[in-house]
Symmetry: C2
Amino acid sequence: MKKNKTKEGEIFLQLLKNRGLSFTRQRKIIFEHIIKNHDHFEVKHIIEALQKRKLRVSRATVYRTLAHLEDCRLIRKMDLGHGHSHFEHILGYKHHEHLCCEKCGKIVEFGDSILEKRIKKILELNLFNKTNHNVRILGICKNCQK
Amino acid sequence: MKKNKTKEGEIFLQLLKNRGLSFTRQRKIIFEHIIKNHDHFEVKHIIEALQKRKLRVSRATVYRTLAHLEDCRLIRKMDLGHGHSHFEHILGYKHHEHLCCEKCGKIVEFGDSILEKRIKKILELNLFNKTNHNVRILGICKNCQK
DNA sequence: TTATAAATGAGACTGAGTCTCAATATCATA
DNA sequence: TATGATATTGAGACTCAGTCTCATTTATAA
Ligand SMILES: [Zn+2]
Ligand SMILES: [Zn+2]
Ligand SMILES: [Zn+2]
Ligand SMILES: [Zn+2]
């Protein structure tokens, strides 16, 4: 199996190695597919895209591989209120939060240092881990306001 | 059907009336059960509690009645990251947000005017409705930090 | 009382995600 | 390269929250 030369590839291979796991055909397919696209993505779309390209990988394997990619912090799983998980890349991307429209599902990313500072304070006051958080704001977007 | 004299009762009856709906035995059972308890609650627990008290109401009716109670803003539905909905009373309770532990599910309520102010600003900047939002912060609580 | 419309409950259904387990692939070592 | 121990996979069964359907029951108002 040819090694992947990207930083992401090195990290993934390292995780697999550390755990005594192998870089299988399926893991390579899923990894390479995910690395290409830097948007928020969902499992269903990955499965459909791979099927279209005749790359057969089972649903179970997709879920299992995503969990590994999460473990090595290449991606993070998010709940944006759509009733299923979304994922996004972490490596090389700035920390940000999500604003989601409760009606149409629109997702807006934003980074706001004032908010982040206050969130850290709130986490601290409540004895939560300050450096590990995930904020989701639900609201109603302009289009959905009547 | 005897009328309920609480403020909540009046609001619920008014909503039903406005919609040409009736205050049935089942709606009364569910309403009275929910009004009693001011914590966060989930559908499963309501159904179990009613079963224990031999008050037979179907799952579908519980969901349908909760939707009505939501419509008249007596309760709100929330996603606290447990994989199913939680509800809480609104009427007579101050606006607050939720901090949830991603590992153990612990829920902490907090009100923070600095945060709220900034959230409003963010909603405004992104053309979202300022007065209608719902913030959830996921993190790791003290007990779950190793 | 009766007609009309609303409400209910049982259970089928959906969709995301997990689990099981027999068959297959990987890898270190001989 | 062959071997055996171990990890991996895929098919489909399963779970769980929530929704939907529809035949039957109940409420309401004339
Ligand atoms: Zn919208
Ligand atoms: Zn994002
Ligand atoms: Zn915890
Ligand atoms: Zn609350």
